[in-house]
Symmetry: C2
Subunit: 137 residues, 2 copies
Protein backbone atom coordinates (compact mmCIF):
# COMPACT_ATOMS: atom_id res chain seq x y z
CA UNK A 1 0.00 0.00 0.00
CA UNK A 2 1.49 3.27 -1.13
CA UNK A 3 1.75 6.07 1.37
CA UNK A 4 1.37 9.70 0.59
CA UNK A 5 4.02 11.94 2.16
CA UNK A 6 1.75 13.37 4.83
CA UNK A 7 0.79 9.91 5.98
CA UNK A 8 4.41 8.96 6.27
CA UNK A 9 5.05 12.00 8.40
CA UNK A 10 1.92 11.67 10.49
CA UNK A 11 2.55 7.99 11.10
CA UNK A 12 5.84 8.91 12.69
CA UNK A 13 4.36 11.81 14.64
CA UNK A 14 6.16 14.45 12.62
CA UNK A 15 4.25 17.61 11.94
CA UNK A 16 4.05 17.93 8.14
CA UNK A 17 5.46 21.31 7.26
CA UNK A 18 6.22 22.41 3.71
CA UNK A 19 9.93 22.05 4.29
CA UNK A 20 9.59 18.53 5.65
CA UNK A 21 7.46 17.45 2.75
CA UNK A 22 10.07 18.71 0.33
CA UNK A 23 12.87 16.93 2.12
CA UNK A 24 10.86 13.74 2.32
CA UNK A 25 10.13 13.97 -1.38
CA UNK A 26 13.83 14.18 -2.18
CA UNK A 27 14.54 11.26 0.13
CA UNK A 28 11.94 9.04 -1.51
CA UNK A 29 13.49 9.78 -4.90
CA UNK A 30 16.92 8.54 -3.90
CA UNK A 31 18.10 5.09 -4.81
CA UNK A 32 21.13 5.47 -2.55
CA UNK A 33 21.68 7.13 0.79
CA UNK A 34 22.26 10.87 0.76
CA UNK A 35 24.45 13.15 2.83
CA UNK A 36 23.48 16.49 4.33
CA UNK A 37 25.73 18.26 1.82
CA UNK A 38 24.18 16.41 -1.10
CA UNK A 39 20.73 17.17 0.20
CA UNK A 40 21.66 20.83 0.41
CA UNK A 41 22.62 20.83 -3.27
CA UNK A 42 19.15 19.60 -4.17
CA UNK A 43 17.74 22.89 -2.96
CA UNK A 44 18.63 26.31 -4.17
CA UNK A 45 17.42 28.24 -1.24
CA UNK A 46 17.25 26.08 1.85
CA UNK A 47 19.50 26.56 4.81
CA UNK A 48 21.89 23.81 5.84
CA UNK A 49 20.85 24.06 9.46
CA UNK A 50 17.19 23.63 8.65
CA UNK A 51 17.95 20.57 6.56
CA UNK A 52 20.18 19.26 9.32
CA UNK A 53 17.43 19.65 11.89
CA UNK A 54 14.87 18.19 9.55
CA UNK A 55 17.01 15.10 9.11
CA UNK A 56 17.53 14.90 12.85
CA UNK A 57 13.80 15.07 13.46
CA UNK A 58 13.22 12.38 10.86
CA UNK A 59 15.87 10.19 12.42
CA UNK A 60 14.61 10.64 15.96
CA UNK A 61 11.20 9.54 14.79
CA UNK A 62 12.63 6.61 12.83
CA UNK A 63 11.44 7.78 9.45
CA UNK A 64 15.05 7.62 8.27
CA UNK A 65 18.23 6.03 9.56
CA UNK A 66 21.76 7.33 9.36
CA UNK A 67 24.74 5.45 8.01
CA UNK A 68 28.34 6.15 8.85
CA UNK A 69 30.06 4.69 5.82
CA UNK A 70 33.51 5.83 6.84
CA UNK A 71 33.70 8.65 4.31
CA UNK A 72 33.48 11.31 6.97
CA UNK A 73 30.00 12.42 6.05
CA UNK A 74 26.97 10.69 7.44
CA UNK A 75 24.40 9.41 4.97
CA UNK A 76 20.66 9.13 5.42
CA UNK A 77 18.06 6.83 3.92
CA UNK A 78 14.39 6.09 4.45
CA UNK A 79 13.45 3.33 6.83
CA UNK A 80 10.96 0.71 5.78
CA UNK A 81 7.50 1.35 7.04
CA UNK A 82 7.67 -1.14 9.87
CA UNK A 83 11.22 -0.29 10.91
CA UNK A 84 11.81 0.48 14.57
CA UNK A 85 15.60 0.54 14.19
CA UNK A 86 15.98 -2.43 16.50
CA UNK A 87 18.92 -4.75 15.91
CA UNK A 88 16.54 -7.08 14.06
CA UNK A 89 15.47 -4.32 11.70
CA UNK A 90 19.00 -3.45 10.64
CA UNK A 91 20.45 -4.28 7.26
CA UNK A 92 23.87 -4.23 5.66
CA UNK A 93 25.09 -1.13 3.85
CA UNK A 94 27.37 -1.10 0.86
CA UNK A 95 29.73 1.69 -0.10
CA UNK A 96 31.03 1.69 -3.65
CA UNK A 97 34.62 2.83 -3.81
CA UNK A 98 34.21 3.91 -7.42
CA UNK A 99 30.97 5.87 -7.59
CA UNK A 100 31.00 6.69 -3.86
CA UNK A 101 27.35 5.83 -3.45
CA UNK A 102 26.08 4.14 -0.32
CA UNK A 103 23.42 1.49 -0.79
CA UNK A 104 20.93 0.06 1.66
CA UNK A 105 20.96 -3.69 1.15
CA UNK A 106 17.51 -3.99 2.65
CA UNK A 107 17.29 -7.67 1.85
CA UNK A 108 20.48 -8.52 3.69
CA UNK A 109 20.01 -8.53 7.46
CA UNK A 110 23.09 -8.12 9.59
CA UNK A 111 24.31 -11.57 10.62
CA UNK A 112 24.26 -12.19 14.34
CA UNK A 113 27.50 -12.37 16.27
CA UNK A 114 28.30 -14.16 19.49
CA UNK A 115 29.73 -11.51 21.75
CA UNK A 116 32.12 -12.33 24.58
CA UNK A 117 30.43 -13.07 27.87
CA UNK A 118 28.89 -10.04 29.64
CA UNK A 119 28.92 -7.92 26.51
CA UNK A 120 25.49 -6.49 25.89
CA UNK A 121 24.26 -5.68 22.39
CA UNK A 122 22.33 -2.52 21.58
CA UNK A 123 22.90 -2.05 17.86
CA UNK A 124 25.16 -3.12 15.05
CA UNK A 125 26.45 -1.43 11.97
CA UNK A 126 27.94 -3.31 9.07
CA UNK A 127 29.35 -1.55 6.04
CA UNK A 128 30.75 -3.47 3.10
CA UNK A 129 33.08 -1.67 0.72
CA UNK A 130 33.73 -2.68 -2.83
CA UNK A 131 32.40 -2.14 -6.34
CA UNK A 132 28.69 -1.92 -6.96
CA UNK A 133 26.91 -3.69 -9.79
CA UNK A 134 26.63 -0.49 -11.80
CA UNK A 135 30.34 0.25 -11.72
CA UNK A 136 31.24 -3.40 -12.25
CA UNK A 137 29.82 -3.39 -15.75
Amino acid sequence: MAQNPDNLLNNRNIKPTAMRELVLKVLTEQTTAISLAELEHKFHKADKVTLFRTLKTFEENKLIHSIDDGTGSVKYALCTESCQCNPDDLHVHFFCTLCHHTFCLNDIPIPSVNLPVHFNLESISMVVKGICSNCKK
Copy 2:
Protein backbone atom coordinates in the same frame (compact mmCIF):
# COMPACT_ATOMS: atom_id res chain seq x y z
CA MET B 1 57.42 -14.96 20.39
CA ALA B 2 57.59 -11.48 21.79
CA GLN B 3 58.75 -8.71 19.47
CA ASN B 4 60.78 -5.76 20.50
CA PRO B 5 59.50 -2.45 19.16
CA ASP B 6 62.23 -2.04 16.55
CA ASN B 7 61.50 -5.46 15.14
CA LEU B 8 57.83 -4.61 14.85
CA LEU B 9 58.71 -1.46 12.96
CA ASN B 10 61.36 -3.05 10.79
CA ASN B 11 59.10 -5.97 9.94
CA ARG B 12 56.67 -3.49 8.50
CA ASN B 13 59.36 -1.48 6.72
CA ILE B 14 58.94 1.53 8.96
CA LYS B 15 62.09 3.41 9.81
CA PRO B 16 62.34 3.28 13.61
CA THR B 17 62.64 6.87 14.78
CA ALA B 18 62.43 7.90 18.42
CA MET B 19 58.97 9.37 17.91
CA ARG B 20 57.65 6.22 16.28
CA GLU B 21 59.02 4.04 19.03
CA LEU B 22 57.27 6.18 21.62
CA VAL B 23 53.97 6.04 19.76
CA LEU B 24 54.29 2.31 19.28
CA LYS B 25 54.97 1.89 22.98
CA VAL B 26 51.79 3.73 23.87
CA LEU B 27 49.84 1.67 21.36
CA THR B 28 51.09 -1.62 22.80
CA GLU B 29 50.01 -0.51 26.25
CA GLN B 30 46.39 0.07 25.23
CA THR B 31 43.71 -2.50 25.91
CA THR B 32 41.26 -0.58 23.75
CA ALA B 33 41.61 1.40 20.55
CA ILE B 34 42.84 4.96 20.87
CA SER B 35 41.99 8.15 19.01
CA LEU B 36 44.42 10.75 17.74
CA ALA B 37 43.23 13.17 20.42
CA GLU B 38 43.69 10.59 23.17
CA LEU B 39 47.12 9.77 21.87
CA GLU B 40 47.99 13.44 21.94
CA HIS B 41 47.07 13.61 25.62
CA LYS B 42 49.57 10.84 26.39
CA PHE B 43 52.37 13.17 25.40
CA HIS B 44 53.16 16.51 26.87
CA LYS B 45 55.15 17.89 24.06
CA ALA B 46 54.33 16.11 20.83
CA ASP B 47 52.59 17.81 17.98
CA LYS B 48 49.21 16.57 16.78
CA VAL B 49 50.31 16.59 13.17
CA THR B 50 53.35 14.46 13.85
CA LEU B 51 51.23 11.95 15.71
CA PHE B 52 48.70 12.03 12.91
CA ARG B 53 51.36 11.31 10.33
CA THR B 54 52.92 8.64 12.47
CA LEU B 55 49.58 6.87 12.73
CA LYS B 56 49.09 7.22 9.02
CA THR B 57 52.48 5.70 8.32
CA PHE B 58 51.71 2.86 10.71
CA GLU B 59 48.38 2.26 9.05
CA GLU B 60 49.77 2.34 5.52
CA ASN B 61 52.24 -0.29 6.54
CA LYS B 62 49.60 -2.38 8.31
CA LEU B 63 51.12 -2.14 11.74
CA ILE B 64 47.85 -0.70 12.99
CA HIS B 65 44.31 -0.52 11.67
CA SER B 66 41.79 2.26 12.03
CA ILE B 67 38.25 1.88 13.29
CA ASP B 68 35.40 4.24 12.58
CA ASP B 69 33.14 3.55 15.52
CA GLY B 70 30.65 6.24 14.67
CA THR B 71 31.76 8.64 17.39
CA GLY B 72 33.23 11.05 14.92
CA SER B 73 36.82 10.34 15.85
CA VAL B 74 38.71 7.49 14.28
CA LYS B 75 40.34 4.99 16.62
CA TYR B 76 43.52 3.03 16.06
CA ALA B 77 44.72 -0.33 17.33
CA LEU B 78 47.64 -2.63 16.68
CA CYS B 79 47.23 -5.33 14.10
CA THR B 80 48.19 -8.87 14.90
CA GLU B 81 51.58 -9.80 13.61
CA SER B 82 50.32 -11.73 10.62
CA CYS B 83 47.59 -9.26 9.70
CA GLN B 84 47.49 -8.03 6.12
CA CYS B 85 44.16 -6.23 6.59
CA ASN B 86 42.49 -8.50 4.06
CA PRO B 87 38.80 -9.23 4.53
CA ASP B 88 39.76 -12.51 6.15
CA ASP B 89 41.96 -10.76 8.70
CA LEU B 90 39.22 -8.43 9.89
CA HIS B 91 37.49 -8.75 13.22
CA VAL B 92 34.46 -7.23 14.88
CA HIS B 93 34.79 -4.05 16.95
CA PHE B 94 32.73 -3.19 19.99
CA PHE B 95 31.93 0.30 21.18
CA CYS B 96 30.72 0.65 24.77
CA THR B 97 28.06 3.32 25.05
CA LEU B 98 28.86 3.81 28.74
CA CYS B 99 32.65 4.01 28.98
CA HIS B 100 33.05 5.01 25.33
CA HIS B 101 35.89 2.59 24.79
CA THR B 102 36.29 0.74 21.53
CA PHE B 103 37.41 -2.89 21.75
CA CYS B 104 38.99 -5.12 19.16
CA LEU B 105 37.19 -8.44 19.37
CA ASN B 106 40.15 -10.20 17.78
CA ASP B 107 38.59 -13.61 18.31
CA ILE B 108 35.41 -12.72 16.46
CA PRO B 109 35.89 -12.69 12.70
CA ILE B 110 33.40 -10.73 10.65
CA PRO B 111 30.75 -13.12 9.38
CA SER B 112 30.56 -13.42 5.63
CA VAL B 113 27.64 -11.91 3.76
CA ASN B 114 26.16 -12.86 0.42
CA LEU B 115 26.19 -9.71 -1.59
CA PRO B 116 23.74 -9.08 -4.42
CA VAL B 117 24.94 -10.28 -7.79
CA HIS B 118 27.74 -8.20 -9.35
CA PHE B 119 28.65 -6.54 -6.07
CA ASN B 120 32.34 -6.94 -5.42
CA LEU B 121 33.75 -7.08 -1.90
CA GLU B 122 36.91 -5.23 -0.89
CA SER B 123 36.56 -4.86 2.87
CA ILE B 124 34.01 -4.94 5.63
CA SER B 125 33.59 -3.07 8.86
CA MET B 126 31.34 -4.26 11.62
CA VAL B 127 30.86 -2.29 14.81
CA VAL B 128 28.68 -3.55 17.62
CA LYS B 129 27.42 -1.04 20.17
CA GLY B 130 26.31 -1.89 23.65
CA ILE B 131 27.66 -2.29 27.16
CA CYS B 132 31.04 -3.88 27.73
CA SER B 133 31.72 -6.48 30.39
CA ASN B 134 33.42 -3.94 32.63
CA CYS B 135 30.49 -1.55 32.67
CA LYS B 136 27.98 -4.38 32.94
CA LYS B 137 29.18 -5.31 36.44
